[in-house]
Symmetry: C2
Subunit: 338 residues, 2 copies
C-alpha cells in the first residue's frame, strides 16, 4: 500500500479494491461484510434486510440530468434494488462548507425529496455538520438505506454459470461523461445528460414475473469504474470469464464524441441509472423485452455472455473482429464523479 | 434563514433546529422523521427497528480519550441505545482528503474496529471517497446504524410527567473540553479526557430489570449542545419544564478549570459517553444504584426533576440559591467537536 491516500483509492478501481481488502476487511471483516455485495444482507429475527451506505462528493453539485441530491438518493436506492431488495428507508447526512448559499442547499434538498418520491422511499433520519470555509468543497452528502429482501430473487455470484447472458438496461457511460463535460475544464460544449435515476421500479417489473425472476442470477449497478470494472469484479467473484460484444454496446453518439475528446473509454465511465443483469440464457430475451416496456429500459440489450474460464477474465470482441482483454479501472481517470 | 450556511447551523443548537424545521422537515417531512428522535423508529413486516446516521468531522482526529473512529462508532451506537434499541449493525462511509497518511487512516480504522467490538456491533457495509487536497480536512466519517427495538422499554416525550427525575450516568462536558484543549489553540496544558464510550451495555442493565425498565420515560445522549440544549429540547417536546440543581451536577475539577479558562459552560459542552434518563420518581433511585454498578455509571446522579409548566422551560438552581433560565446553545461555541 502507498504511504499516502491517493485520489485513485476512491476511484472504484484497483486501488479501491486493495484498500478494502488490505485495510477494511482486515479490521472489520465478518461474513456479511466479506461478501462485498452492493448492500449488506442482514437477518434480524428472521426478517431479511439489505443495508447500504454511500457518500457523494460529486463536483460540480449540479450537472445536466441531475445533481448531488438526486445522485445521493438514486445511488443508495439502486444499491438496494440491485441486491434484490425493495428500498424503503433512507438516511441523509450533510457535511456543509461554511458559507454555502442557503438557496443551493435548498435546491439540493428539494431534488433529494423529488428523487425519494420518484423511488417511493422515505428519508427518515438525518444529520448536519458544518465545517470551516476551506475545510470541505461546498457540500458532501452521505445516504444510507434499508430495504427488505425480495424473496422472489435468488441472487449471488455463485449462481452465475457459463452460458448465462449479460444484459444492460440502456446506454453506457452517460453519467461520467455528463459530469466531466459539466466541469467545463475541457472546452467541450456538448451537453451530455446524466442517466441518474432510481432503478427499483424497473427491477420490480422483473420480480413481478416469477418465470423471469427465477432466471436472474446476479445484478449490479456499474457506477464508479463503469461497466468494465463491474464485470471484472463479477468475473473474479464468480470464478468465470465474461465476453462482451462491442457491436452490441448501446452508447449515445454524444457520449462517443465527448469520450473521444476526453480520451475516456465509455466502458470505464460511471453510470447512475444502469443495471447489469446476469441471467440464464432462457430468461434473457424475456428480461430484455420486459425492460423495454419501461422508460428506463427502452435501450435494454444483451451485451455479452458468461464463459467457462479461470475466473476474472473479461474480453471485448471488437467491431474490428479482434478480442481485447478488459481490466479494472487503474489510476484515477474520473475523480469526484459521484 | 440566513443567506449562507454558518458554522452555527452545525452546532446542534438553535440554528441547527431552525434548519431542520424550516428546510429538512419541509421537504422530507413524514411521521417517522417528524418525531426527531435520536433514531428513526421503523416497522418492517412487524419487526420494530431503529435507524440512525451521523457524520463525524471532529478536529483534531486524535484527542485524549478517543479519536474520530471511536467517536463514529460510539456516537451511532449511542443514538440507537438511547432510543431503546439494541444496536446490531453499523455502516462506515469515509471521505478522505488526498494525501492523508495511510498510517493515520489505519489507526482510525483500528480504533473503529475496537469500539465496534466493545459495543458488540458489526461493521457490515462501507464506502470510500477521496477528494483532492484542499477539498476536505483530512478525514470525515459517516456511520449509520440499525438496531432492534427493545420491547422492554416504552419511551417517548409524551411519557414524561411532572415529578419524574432527571438522571445522568456521570460527569458533564468532558468530551467538548477534551477536544477544545487538544487543539492547543488556547495554551491550556490541562489534559482532559473525552468520555467517548458505547452506552448500549450500560443501558441494557436497565432493560434487564423489568421493574426498573418500566420506570424509564425517555433517554437521550447530550452530545452537541450539551446537557443544556438536550434538556431544552426534551422540555419543549414534552411540553413540560425541568429544574436542575447546580450542586448535583457531576463535573470533573479539570473540566471546571479548563471551562473557566475557555469561557465555556460545561452544561453546553458535548458529551460522548453520557445518557440523560428521565424516569419516574419511584424508579429513579434504583436506576442510579444500577448504573453505579457499571464502570460507565460510577458517578450516576439525579440532577433534577420535571415540573408542570408551559413547556420548554429549563431552570438551574444555582449554588448561590438563585434560579437561572437555561436556553439552547446559540451561536457556535464549539465548532467541529464531533
Amino acid at each position: 500500500m502507498t504511504d499516502r491516500i491517493l485520489l485513485a483509492h476512491g476511484s472504484g478501481g484497483e486501488l479501491t479494491h486493495r484498500l478494502i481488502e488490505e485495510l477494511f476487511l482486515q479490521y472489520f471483516g465478518n461474513p456479511t461484510l466479506n461478501e462485498l455485495y452492493d448492500s449488506a444482507l442482514l437477518k434480524i429475527n428472521g426478517q431479511r434486510l439489505a443495508f447500504t451506505t454511500d457518500s457523494y462528493v460529486v463536483r460540480p453539485l449540479f450537472f445536466p440530468g441531475g445533481d448531488i441530491g438526486r445522485l445521493a438518493v438514486c445511488g443508495t436506492v439502486n444499491d438496494l434494488a440491485v441486491s434484490g431488495a425493495t428500498p424503503l428507508f433512507v438516511s441523509a447526512g450533510f457535511i456543509i462548507e461554511e458559507g454555502l448559499e442557503y438557496e443551493t442547499l435548498k435546491k439540493v434538498v428539494a431534488s433529494m425529496s423529488e428523487a425519494a418520491k420518484e423511488a417511493g422511499v422515505l428519508v427518515v433520519t438525518g444529520d448536519t455538520k458544518v465545517v470551516e470555509k476551506g475545510s470541505a468543497d461546498k457540500l458532501f452528502i452521505n445516504t444510507s438505506g434499508i430495504g427488505v429482501a425480495d424473496e422472489r430473487f435468488h441472487l449471488g455470484y455463485k449462481k452465475i454459470s457459463p452460458g448465462d447472458k449479460v444484459i444492460i438496461n440502456g446506454t453506457i457511460g452517460d453519467h461520467g461523461i455528463a459530469v466531466m463535460t459539466a466541469r467545463g475544464d475541457f472546452g467541450i460544449t456538448l451537453e451530455v445528460k446524466s442517466d441518474s435515476a432510481p432503478l427499483n421500479q424497473l427491477i420490480s417489473l422483473i420480480a413481478d414475473d416469477p418465470n423471469v425472476a427465477s432466471g436472474v442470477r446476479f445484478m449490479r449497478d456499474p457506477t464508479r469504474g463503469g461497466v468494465a470494472t463491474t464485470l471484472v469484479e463479477v468475473a473474479e467473484k464468480g470464478l468465470l470469464d465474461i465476453v462482451i460484444h462491442e457491436s452490441s454496446l448501446p452508447i449515445l453518439e454524444e457520449v462517443k464524441s465527448a469520450s473521444e475528446m476526453l480520451g475516456i473509454d465509455p466502458l470505464y465511465s460511471a453510470n447512475e441509472g444502469k443495471v447489469l443483469i446476469i441471467a440464464s440464457k432462457d430468461a434473457a430475451e424475456n428480461i430484455v423485452s420486459l425492460l423495454r416496456t419501461h422508460p428506463l429500459g427502452r435501450e435494454a440489450m444483451v451485451i455479452g455472455e458468461v464463459k467457462e474460464g479461470r475466473g476474472g477474465g473479461v474480453f471485448l470482441n471488437t467491431t474490428f473482429g479482434t478480442r481485447r482483454r478488459i481490466s479494472m479501472l487503474t489510476g484515477n481517470m474520473l475523480p469526484r464523479i459521484c
